[in-house]
Amino acid sequence: MSAKLIKRDDALVIKAESSSVGVNEAREYLSDIKNYPKRYGYLIFDFSDVTEITSAALRNLTFALSITNQLNAKVAIVGSAVVSQCISDCHLEKVFPYYSSVNQIFEKNPQTSILQNTLKDELDDAIKTTFQTITGSEAHAMPFDSNAQNYSNNFEIGAIIGISDTSFKGSLILGFSVKSYLNLMSKMFGATYSEVTSEISDGPAEVLNMIYGHLKIALNNNGFSVSPAIPITIMGSNLRIVPCEKKSSPIVLLYESEFGTFYVELNMNYQSMKAVA
């Protein structure tokens, strides 16, 4: 074997053990990856000790990745200036984002860690798909300052769903102002709602359920094993949901749309990342 495969968080790290990487080595890496049936969010080729790499090897990795079972995995390459130059020469910067060290990818800040970023992308996609389908109009992400604490100031109606796996416990929250929520229901049903009636009172839970359905598939594709869960609607004034155990920063996404603004918050408190690997 010319590479050592290491599972780390949501990534499979392929550490080259020879100083030279050619087509044969590239083929061997792909053969090794195929022996890992679990789907990973990232495949990281660690070429830190590689002093020579051929463009044919890089291209071989590009084409051959599609035949492994890691179709949805994002790919990154770690290496020296030689590796960086080869990626640039082959115009493969978009296929193989380059990093100078593996630790650079696994930044300690959870907001920028690769798993958080993967989940953020998946969550954003789930939210946009859901709102596009149910209202026929787009929801646009708004800039978010991770230090701001006032994102839920207008939270008057929403829903929460518990999420758990062997490696984490968490929650997914959807929050609207009553005005935004009534506008959403009016848009969906082509009628004007001026109050939250019984027939639309469980709407936040259903909308969150749709978002969760997409996110659940993404989580399970990233090595987790989350189960179906039942969301509940929450309504009141000056609401603020505070997770009882908050070890990591939440992913918070704010949106604006023609019916108003809303936010979605994902909390995941990891018990042990080993279970993910």
Binding site: T130, F189, S201, M210, K216, N220
Partner: protein, 135 residues
């Protein structure tokens, strides 16, 4: 397509979802729509309607529901000589491969993933209608 006078049963524990599906069905021209909040209530309605000679002719049921889930309702109908051929579309927010497989094994007519557009619902109903006619 099913005739406009088809008796359709919507089964979902969420009232907003029942309202949404009902509105989409009405837009497609269907007017005879009954609602149930879970699989157990649906089963009672299906039996009652049948005894009154106004049988339910198409079921649209959510997967995840309290008391009796959509997939459990489907299993009960498939086990019944009287209702085993009742067209059944299951609705779910998840739609993972193992779920689809389970539903197909039980003989579901079609599968639709939330959220869905009126066009998607129409396509599913049309597809099921063709299967029913062919049978």
């Amino acid at each position: 397509m099913f005739p406009k006078e088809t008796n359709i049963l919507i089964v979902d524990d969420m009232s907003m979802m029942r309202k949404l599906v009902k509105a989409q069905l009405k837009d497609l021209g269907f007017a005879q729509i009954t609602e149930a909040q879970n699989g157990a209530e649906a089963l009672t309605i299906i039996e009652q309607q049948d005894s009154q000679n106004t049988p339910i002719q198409l079921v649209l049921a959510d997967w995840n529901m309290p008391v009796l889930t959509g997939i459990e309702l489907l299993a009960k109908l498939k086990a019944s000589a009287k209702f085993k051929n009742l067209p059944f579309i299951i609705i779910t927010a998840e739609g993972e491969v193992h779920q689809v497989t389970e539903a197909i094994k039980l003989g579901v007519s079609s599968f639709i993933r939330k959220p869905f557009s009126p066009e998607a619902l129409k396509e599913k109903i049309e597809a099921v209608s063709k299967t029913v006619k062919a049978a």
